[in-house]
Amino acid sequence: MANVEISAVRKSYGALEVVHGVDIDIKDGEFVILVGPSGCGKSTLLRMIAGLEEISDGAVSIGGRVVNNLTPKERNIAMVFQNYALYPQMTVAQNMGFSLEISGKSKAEISSKVNSTAEILGLTPLLERKPSQLSGGQRQRVAMGRAIVRDPAVFLFDEPLSNLDANLRVQMRAEIKALHQRLGTTIVYVTHDQIEAMTMADRIVVLRGGVVEQMGTPMDLYDSPANMFVAGFLGSPSMNFLKGRLAADGSPGLTLEDGSEVKLQHSPQGTSNQAIVLGIRPQDIAVDPVNGTPAVIKVMEPTGADTHVLVELAGQDLVAVLPPRLKTTVGETIPLSFASPNVHFFDAASEANIPCDPKSEHDQ
């Protein structure tokens, strides 16, 4: 096991810089997930840790040793790829034992390590099969087995669940998390799926355009997003953003672009009449026939446990997660309340979070 230190790491392809000085300190045994949209540099960063991509500037250390100039095999890491990358002509057992065979381990040792790992992952009955005879989930488990057998200091996962169907993804998520709890090895995991990040990580690093937007525990990021990007990226359905101006009299409320008023429980620190963006998660919107602001229903999506309702308010689309079996239909108006204690405020220009004004607590 080892810690991983990424210090001011940059990556350029010619004149094009794609990773702009990233600093991340990953503790020994920590499960860190790098998350962000396509092209944010998360996979490049992981490949630089693995030694598959040259580091243009800065340093990567594993277990206190700078590894910039070491080959992948000298870094004592193991990697699981999105497309499994299993050797097609080898059996499951041969795939898993390949690294041990190359390092000159005895046949008995290889077989014992392969067997014990296969047992952990439930692969024992499949050991003699070729990768083409396995399902997607089984292949991914073999790829993980190949990584575990080596007993590396750090596991690197590059979008390992992206090729699996939704049900299998949920199952594998739990398996990877259980595996981390069992092995306690440091894991750096890359995904674009925020649910994977939220459910599995000890700490999440949100990247955009080669820059770290925010890092912290999943709930830290969920509850206190640093900016609109992080707020919108984490959580499902995504956070709603309502543009408006603070009430002129300083009371907790927002005047929307069409002049309608939205009552709030808090107001942000700032001057009155300032242009801001209100961020509210769909789950924090409620139906309130008394104080609610009327919104027009555009689409209703019952999921069984609740109903996702797409509404239009002051020319802006919002999603609200409301109770199931709503007695309304598309085209009708519905009074919605935004007076949740969990709302967020962002500066309209910089998109940065504006803290709530503690004095503005308003009891409705």
């Binding site: 193991a78 990697m79 990358a85 390949f98």
Partner: protein
Amino acid sequence: MTIVDAQTAPFSSLPKRRDPVLIGLWISLVIVAIIWLAPIVFITFTAMKSNPEVLNSAAFAPPEKIVWENFTKAWVKGNFNETFVNSTVITFIKVPLGLLISAMAAYALAQIQMGWNKFLLIFVLFGAMIPFQVMLAPLFTLVNSLSLIDTYPGVILPYLAFGVPYQVFILHGFFKAIPKELTEAALIDGASHVTIFRRIFLPVSLPVLAALLILDFVATWNEFAMALVLLQDKHMWTLPLGLMSFQGQFSDNYGQLNAAIVMTVLPATIVYLIFQRYFVSGLTSGAVKG
């Protein structure tokens, strides 16, 4: 028949409509096959006929009595003892060696980034663009200056030089299509490039290697022009040269001449039949993977 019966009638009882395009394709395939097979049938039948029977029977009529003597006589007269050995030595060294060199070069060009891979590939391909007939005279001078005329290396080395570029081209395309994660996974597993090439790329590429082996075997076995220039000594001749000489001397004995042709072509046919299963899958796998 009731309505119910009609609805539950199995599909197989419905009249089948054949696609006219498909029928047309089949007919043209059969015609092409006949055109290709006709000379083979003619040669094989003639090889088994006595000279009077050749002159008196129809060209495509099967032999009344098989004359095996044609083969034994042609073998002795045509000095096949020597030419067969020469062809075997040259082909069995050149073909595997050429494939190995091509595969290693293609791997390096496809998988190891050296910065000038594209230029190197174009440089290698340039060799495939020059017709070897143009090169015959300079080639003779070169081989002669190295004192390699009438030696095995004197003909194997030029064969390699002219065979490698197109094999590199085909294998490079195939290796490029192998996901790079496979190489990366092996690098992380601690494998060197030699190990990756030997343990992962070669087994994965078996179909395309088999296809190239067949093509190269047939081409080398039947090669004539370069051998004619580079092998002056009769004792160093390959089968096609021996066959030409035989034809010059015994062209009136059709039975024996065709027996000699059959014996010359047979090894290449056998190799083709052994590897044709891989050959077909090699061609398609290359096509699908781009």
